[in-house]
């Protein structure tokens, strides 16, 4: 049975436009093009400056050259010789991977329930999901901190309570996220109900229908969610700042802060930029590889990302 699910009309429209070949441009269009080129330059310059700074010797740090008088490649090895970078990378990878797994699993199950099952109280609960989307995170920040400082961890990661373990940064991911549940629900409602009916007649369980019928047809939305969760967890600052105290549990974002006062109370800019570039790289690579999903994700969720 051929199933055509209308997935990303906008994304396709966007892609088609750019396929158009060069044509004669009006003066207005040429001006617009020049403006876009200028703006793109401004958007990209910070990256070049970062690269340039990361390769400068301390003595050249405050000159205005783009290409340093001497390329100080040792900045990269020096920057990573302080602190427990290997450990911090591993920590960040673990937290990110678990959070991604938890988010995908929970949001897809919950969205499946809201989109494709009928049960009493469903619509009421769904409006509650929508309401939490508008709830400012700050309201729950302090009571959650208090909660995690009381919940017993039974010595997990050497801690008596959840604070100073990865638990506060990973476990909540397994309880879903309102934005993503909403996105997936919209998406799953577009899949013909007849598919589920047919599978039910064949004796398939809901878990089976969720996993082998609905999930594969929801891939673009799941990809967007995976990518956003990756990015937000990798770059999260306030979470690790609140919950991780021991240095061996730090994430990369917390690790970067060790350079903040490294140069006699001022930031060691060349090391900071070298380390920052390396920390940023995975996200940039993921972006370049899965650009399409990022862009579709933004348009699908209406989330500006920041």
């Amino acid at each position: 049975m051929a199933v055509v699910v209308e997935q990303t009309p906008r994304g396709d429209a966007l892609r088609q436009d750019s396929r158009r070949r060069w044509r004669r441009l009006s003066i207005g269009e040429i001006l617009a093009l020049l403006l876009l080129l200028g703006l793109s330059f401004l958007f990209l310059v910070p990256f070049f400056w970062m690269l340039s700074t990361s390769l400068k010797d301390v003595r050249d740090l405050f000159d205005s050259r783009w290409i340093p008088s001497r390329l100080a490649w040792e900045n990269y090895t020096d920057a990573f010789s302080f602190g427990m970078w290997r450990r911090w990378t591993l920590n960040t990878v673990i937290i990110t991977a678990v959070a991604m797994l938890g988010t995908l699993l929970s949001t897809s199950l919950v969205a499946y329930s809201f989109a494709r099952l009928r049960w009493p109280g469903r619509d009421l609960l769904f409006s509650l999901v929508l309401a939490t989307m508008m709830l400012p995170g700050i309201v729950t920040m302090i009571p959650q901190f208090i909660l995690f400082s009381k919940l017993p961890a039974f010595g997990f990661q050497g801690s008596r309570v959840w604070i100073d373990t990865f638990l506060p940064l990973t476990v909540p991911a397994f309880t879903g996220n309102a934005f993503y549940i909403f996105l997936l629900r919209q998406f799953m409602r577009g899949i013909p109900m007849e598919l589920s009916e047919a599978a039910r007649i064949d004796g398939a369980s809901e878990l089976r229908i969720w996993w082998s019928i609905v999930m594969p047809l929801t891939k673009p939305a799941l990809a967007a969610i995976a990518i956003f969760t990756f990015q937000f967890t990798w770059e999260d600052f306030i979470g690790p700042l609140l919950y991780l105290q021991r240095e061996e549990l730090y994430t990369l974002q917390l690790g970067l802060r060790q350079f903040e006062f490294a140069a006699g109370g001022a930031p060691a800019w060349n090391w900071l930029m070298a380390a920052s570039l390396v920390v940023m790289t995975p996200v940039v690579i993921i972006f370049l590889l899965f650009q399409r999903y990022f862009i579709e994700g933004v348009t699908l969720t209406g989330m500006a990302g920041r």
Binding site: R10, L14, L25, A32, L36, S40, F43, L44, P46, W49, S64, S106, L109, V110, S113, L117, R118, W119, R122, L125, V129, T132, I138, V139, T140, P143, Q144, I146, L147, P172, F174, T175, G176, I181, E206, W210, F232, E235, F237, I238, Q253, L256, R257, P267, L272, S276, L277, M280, V283, V284, F287, Q291, F294, I295, V298, T299, G302, A304, G305, R306
Partner: protein
């Protein structure tokens, strides 16, 4: 009898319950992760936080009921008003600047020019870099003799000391914020693409020119998107934290800290300082901080409702007119 047994047999093999009941039970089970999360990580904490806001509490000892003391103290706290003013400044300046700039760029991208896809990717690229690294980068770019001021100098403009001058710290954050409008651009671009071409064709027949098309077709058709972006943008701007935390170069120690002349003491930064500040007067005041959180919640709620009310005057919903 035999039939009844047989039917029961089928039912047992299929499921213990009737199909509708089974579906209801499955529905609840599938939704359970969210329900548990909502109770444990949202509703419970909110109730507890409301209670805490009427107590004196430092986590290590039990909360002591103090009535409305925290709220009274907050309304007599000069830093509360400073943080509120700083935050309102950000909302009032940053949101309009972001809306205008991102719509302008979206309009340019919507012109079907060669390379539109590449431009789109370039404008979005900074959005994937939201962490500490990017904020440090901008602290470096906006240094007194940093890249930005050197660029201004080329144009003959003397640049300010940005994050060292109380008058320029917040404009500095707005400038760096412009690097992250790529997501907004994409959203406006998608809305622009969704405007039916017939509208423009019909207007052209009626003799509409470029500006009047923008004014009477593009902007009204874009207004629901603008509305959504403004509402979520304001909620976000009220909660600015990481940027201020990193830019003001603080160590989470001194409660009163918040950049030069407290010009970066934003609401959530001050709230964080009150809750987790390690030295100075008034750290670890969970009751005080919870009360602050609730005040902010009420402010955000009031502003959102006000916007919903105002929306009727300027947001155009196509379906209503038909």
């Amino acid at each position: 009898m035999a039939q009844a047994i047989q039917r029961q047999g089928v039912a047992t093999r299929r499921s213990f319950w009737r199909p509708a009941t089974r579906e209801a039970v499955t529905g609840w089970l599938f939704a359970l992760p969210w329900i548990i999360g909502f109770i444990v990580f949202t509703l419970g904490p909110m109730v507890f936080s409301l209670y805490t806001s009427f107590t004196s509490y430092n986590i290590t000892t039990s909360p002591v009921w103090v009535g409305t003391e925290n709220y009274q103290a907050i309304f007599n706290d000069p830093r509360f008003y400073i943080s509120l003013r700083n935050t309102f400044w950000m909302v009032a300046v940053k949101i309009p600047v972001v809306v205008v700039a991102s719509i302008a760029i979206a309009l340019l991208l919507n012109m079907d020019l060669p390379g539109a896809r590449t431009f789109r990717a370039i404008f979005y690229l900074p959005n994937v870099l939201a962490g500490v690294a990017a904020i440090f980068l901008w602290r470096w770019i906006l240094a007194a003799d940093g890249l930005f001021n050197r660029g201004l100098a080329l144009l003959g403009i003397p640049g300010p000391a940005w994050f060292y001058d109380p008058a320029w710290t917040k404009p500095g954050i707005v400038v760096m914020g412009m690097w992250w409008i790529g997501g907004n651009i994409l959203i406006y671009l998608a809305s622009l693409k969704a405007i039916p071409a017939q509208l423009y064709e019909a207007a052209a027949i009626d003799g509409a020119t470029g500006w009047s098309k923008t004014r009477y077709i593009t902007l009204p058709m874009l207004s629901p998107t603008i509305f959504f972006q403004v509402v979520t943008g304001i909620i976000g701007a009220f909660q600015i934290f990481t940027t201020a935390y990193i830019i003001s170069g603080q160590n989470g120690e001194d409660v009163g800290k918040g950049g030069p002349g407290q010009s970066l003491l934003f609401y959530v930064l001050y709230l964080y300082n009150r809750a987790f500040g390690k030295s100075g007067p008034g750290g670890f005041q969970m009751g005080y901080a919870s009360a602050m959180a609730w005040i902010l919640f009420v402010i955000i709620l009031a502003i959102t409702l006000l916007q919903l009310w105002l929306a009727r005057r300027w947001v155009y919903y196509e379906s209503e007119q038909q």
